[in-house]
Symmetry: C2
Subunit: 364 residues, 2 copies
Amino acid sequence: MATITFLYKDLLQYTEAIFQKLGSTPEDAALAAKVLLSADLRGVDSHGVARLSGYVRLWEVKRVNATPNVQILHQTPSTATVDGDSGLGLVVAPKAMQIAINKAKQVGTGWVSVQNSNHFGIAGFHAMMALEEDMIGICMTNASPLVSPTFSVERLLGTNPICVAIPAGKQPAFVADMATTTAANGKLEILQRKNLEAPIGWIQDANGDATTDAHALKNGGALLPLGGNREQGSHKGYALGAIVDIFSAVLSGANYGPWVPPFPAYVPMPTNMPGKGIGHFFGAMRVDAFRPADDFKRHMDQWIERFRQSRTIQGQDKVLIPGDPEREMEEVRLQQGIPLLHPVVEDLKSLAQRFDVEFPSHNS
Amino acid sequence: MATITFLYKDLLQYTEAIFQKLGSTPEDAALAAKVLLSADLRGVDSHGVARLSGYVRLWEVKRVNATPNVQILHQTPSTATVDGDSGLGLVVAPKAMQIAINKAKQVGTGWVSVQNSNHFGIAGFHAMMALEEDMIGICMTNASPLVSPTFSVERLLGTNPICVAIPAGKQPAFVADMATTTAANGKLEILQRKNLEAPIGWIQDANGDATTDAHALKNGGALLPLGGNREQGSHKGYALGAIVDIFSAVLSGANYGPWVPPFPAYVPMPTNMPGKGIGHFFGAMRVDAFRPADDFKRHMDQWIERFRQSRTIQGQDKVLIPGDPEREMEEVRLQQGIPLLHPVVEDLKSLAQRFDVEFPSHNS
């Protein structure tokens, strides 16, 4: 599909201006734009600026508060429960992660569970905030129900991603950022747009049978937990998604399971919701809370180098370290710009017009 | 395969006596026996009393110290690094988990990384210690390399299990205890004994090709990370196994990746080992460090009840909550006894003779 390429800094400025028009403070708008665009830079196109009008629609129906008072409801020296006050997850999440980091500075680790938030972009951004502090960063979030537990035909879990970011020395950091499903919903959307079949193990139909129909979700189907089916370990993917849901929402007082509010503003809200908004969970662990940071980094370098040097199966030239593809994509896109699909560009242009914001010229 | 059934309390007494003969203190021997037998009770037969003679052989070659001085090397209010002093993991692990629990009592959470340990039985036992304190328990360990990362033909990771145990109110606790591979090695061993084929996605051959040959591991093959292949998400299982390895060993100063010492005492030790023994990682989080424990438990009950009531696919009568099968097995085996295979019984009898310990009579 044809794309048009824009410079990162131009899209950042544009996005920041839109968030300001929604009423965000300049600081919050800058933060939200940076978090949102980090997805485009890292190649997670489904979670980047393409979603901007989705956030605007949540603001229109008053599900997003542009001036949230993000505050701690309850805390101990190593933990906090945070109320996101219905703010953009793009703003609530980095503030909550900063609380985790501050606690880790004091007592070694910090753990923050968040209620009353919204979609926070990519988990990787928030977890990676820990890296510059020589900390391991952990980030997870629940999401609206698209996934069936093993043996279920109901959708009870979101794609519930987990990110763990681990600093190294000379080597780039280890950053595993993954949905707890076989495939992220964004990958399925690409197949849907191209009318291609999905591999077996990604989705099931309304009866719970394996299917390759990429459109099955629209007809009562569901995404499958990592593993795909029981014999291939889907009960483990289901357990991982469940853990993310419980840490993010049962600990914090957010909604969980089938009650998590949907991202599309036109989808009706669930009834009898047991909590507030969606939930996230953040962790920060100082590596020098366990051993001297230099020792840790030297061994982390050795770990990474040994895995990189592994002999490969035929047809593959290297074993990847988690985070390699996204980091390489970020280097390319910072230089060459971010390619956007035509429909996304049209959507962003109409937002620009509506909010009287300048739309950037494309880069080529 | 025919089995002989023994009462739990008889096997416990026998196992305790064997550990005492190795030189363990009465307290440590009782603890080690309880941890080891918890695997048999919960139906994880590969990790129970069948391994007793394996532990004895490690003691024979002086890789297990029967009287370890388990001590904290480094700590902060919420963390500790523990030296297992080459003790039985069955003793080191619950002591390290207790340190995590004690820290959680003080500052909300506790996180302990352990070096210089040995195989610790099932992860579930240690994580579940947190439940009676109204804490979430987390436990992981690395293990000798049997698993190839995605695109690799080398074995660089162990089956590296993760357990997360979460307390509930009226409902039994949520306990997810899983290898980060598609299938645990114990399940493969069952297929090998019965000369059955393995499902695709469990193992690869020496060239890295998918195979159903359950004996492929003996011929240079490897277990596969959860997901099985790249298209089915094996890079996520690889990342999970890697995170377990790094938390357990790079944080603590234990051996990691291909350098983790093998469980069988006859397998030569790796050369140029970068650390000490194998590594574990433990976490404990007080639920009331986030919200009142009663609120948490009420919502956890609602979470569990909603998932249990899910409509099922044809041919399955219920959606399981992680931990259900093991808990049901424990109830049965506490009453009816633990069935052991004939070769295991013969092995235990010869240990009894050698150490002049009474062997229990079977229960039927």
